[in-house]
Symmetry: C2
Subunit: 193 residues, 2 copies
Amino acid sequence: MYELFLHNFNSKVKLTEEEEAFIKTYLTPKKLRKKQYLIQETDVCKFMAFVEKGALRAYSVDEIGKEHIIQFALEGWTISDLYSFLTGEPATYNIDALEDSELVLISKAAHEDLLLKLPKYETYFRIQVTGAYIAMQKRLTSIISSPLEERYKNLTALYPTIVERVPQHMIASYMGLQPETLSRIRRKIATKK
Amino acid sequence: MYELFLHNFNSKVKLTEEEEAFIKTYLTPKKLRKKQYLIQETDVCKFMAFVEKGALRAYSVDEIGKEHIIQFALEGWTISDLYSFLTGEPATYNIDALEDSELVLISKAAHEDLLLKLPKYETYFRIQVTGAYIAMQKRLTSIISSPLEERYKNLTALYPTIVERVPQHMIASYMGLQPETLSRIRRKIATKK
DNA sequence: CAATAGCATTGACCAAAGTCAATGTTTTTT
DNA sequence: AAAAAACATTGACTTTGGTCAATGCTATTG
């Protein structure tokens, strides 16, 4: 249990066996069926979830009821409404499962305790967040500076698994587009070759 | 010297006088005249810059030579090409001064040394990056889910100083728009009231 | 395995943002 | 203070993406 999580952790900060055992006492496993929610908007987000298996998405819903996907998480990724998690304010995102999934949960209490008691946890978390920040900055740059066609190509190049496993209309949502538009872009790319 | 930086640091992680003195030995002050570069694309980004005074911007340049602003930094903000800074790869952004500015630089060597020698520095950095991540996630959410008019209103509400101090065509660039489009949105908002 | 719901594609039309060009204003520079 | 540069606005037109509606395909699921 927790294989992938611990593997991920060790690849960033090497743990001793005792430390591994110690961390494990703070983790909670959780299975989620396809379409089940991990968090709903207006709840307070009580944990960060590491994906051992499966796929989740975080999305917001606008005034006219449209969903906008802001993040996907496949195996090895962490997903949460970090703002809500850290501040205790209500979540602004919904997170649900796109496939039957297995998660490792870190609760707020666990997070805070680990930060205090295990310096390596803080290092791990710092590296994680820094990586997430850089990845998101790239995404943002691509949004404001690349034409759509490029953006879609980049996405498939960077995250081929996401594009394969996730329905196309969700990819469209993630890119801030209508499904019809993405369909047309794909056709355009296909006919060019 | 370093007043604002240390104040900012202390507001996140309280330092003793000795620790303050210790950190100061790692800092370098730097003045930048308007239009001067802190980093140019293809350089390796050698520091993180905290703004004591003035205003900077980070931007990328696309194939057809258009500039796309991805971040502004006013007093109290930190700016860098974090990816390049951490990996040693060439920068993908240019950073330059919008006004005469005073900066506090933290070099790569200083950053690494501080992470090892002063746990509070790691905590400070973690909190900083986490905050930056959350802010950017909000910006991204707003881009993919709000109509333009809302986005401009949000921006002026959230960062009134930026909108005041920075030329409008740069705000447009930051929003991923043409200057003409932003001008029209502003007129639309103005006539509505 | 039949029925249903979810999904992708296409077409016709509309709305929004981009482009190009001209004009007037403000800010900088000399 | 004059000249030049940078900036903001507006209009006419084009391009791009959104909307609505119809069709056929593909997975679920009962």
